[in-house]
């Protein structure tokens, strides 16, 4: 039997890698990819807690479904922003998008 801890550590590792990607990457699309990894790590946790907890309570899976919807919405808007940005500023490097920086 796989212990619940294994799943949680696996998810923690995935989350940390995603966090590194979000913080270290220059390209806005790559940052989005990091966010996807983090959301996936969260989903693993939710489903693992459902499986190892009270099976009659489906909250873990229901939350995961909502996370899917939110992730899809986030990517759609995020990529639209990136493309719009590219059209106007000709760059999608996050550091160079600093019009609001003062």
């Amino acid at each position: 039997m796989i212990s619940l801890t294994w799943y949680l550590i696996f998810a923690a590792a995935l989350f940390s890698i995603g966090l590194y990607g979000v913080l270290a990457r220059k390209n806005a699309i790559a940052i989005l990819m990091g966010i996807e990894l983090m959301l996936n790590a969260v989903n693993i946790n939710l489903v693992a807690f459902w499986r190892y907890g009270d099976l009659a309570n489906i909250a873990g899976q229901a939350f995961a479904v909502i996370v899917f919807a939110v992730a899809a919405a986030e990517v759609a808007v995020g990529l639209a922003l990136v493309i719009s940005l590219y059209r106007r500023r000709n760059t999608i490097v996050a550091e160079e998008i600093d019009l609001m920086k003062w």
Binding site: S3, L8, L23, A24, A30, G34, Y52
Partner: protein
């Protein structure tokens, strides 16, 4: 070690390696392809957790839609893809340190948390049926479900407006 454990370890290692490549590969299209592998690994993890519905939805939504959209966006912003030079910014050491500290801290907490005592009970009802009923049941998750659909609609309209070519 039982067969399931071996499968889990293989899946976990493949997923984590793919995730590492996602955040380190300079070539963004390669990063997106590694992302597909990582997302597939997560789907395999869902199968191991008996959540077949979520595993399939993971493949449909993440690989079929999100990853493909990302590759599209990378190609539409193509000049950046050919950019040589580092794809990571100057404070990547701090980021790596933060990630490492987070991982070590979480692992420490998890090992001492007693999560290892959680036991696996047998599935008695079909989780797909249960999930389907509870998602639209007024006593359970119908409002989050409806809100998610409103969110998707808003995202659709929003992204069309943002990306509209004037």
């Amino acid at each position: 070690m039982s067969g399931v454990e071996i499968i889990f370890i293989i899946v976990a290692i493949v997923t984590l390696l793919a995730a590492l490549f996602v955040v380190t590969t300079p070539n963004l299209v390669h990063a997106a392809l590694w992302l597909i592998l990582a997302l597939f690994g997560v789907a395999a993890t869902f199968v191991l957790l008996n959540a077949t519905f979520l595993a399939v939805v993971q493949v449909v939504v993440y690989i079929g839609a999100i990853a493909v959209l990302m590759i599209f966006a990378i190609m539409l912003t193509r000049r950046v893809m050919e950019d040589s030079g580092p794809q990571i910014n100057s404070n990547w050491i701090l980021a790596a340190l933060l990630g490492l500290v987070l991982f070590v801290g979480l692992t420490f907490v998890l090992i001492n948390s007693g999560a290892a005592n959680a036991s696996l009970s047998d599935l008695v009802v079909d989780p797909v049926e249960q999930l389907g009923k509870e998602l639209v049941s007024p006593n359970a998750y119908v409002i989050p479900f409806e809100l998610a659909s409103v969110l998707l609609l808003a995202a659709m309209i929003g992204s069309i407006v943002i990306a509209w070519k004037k």
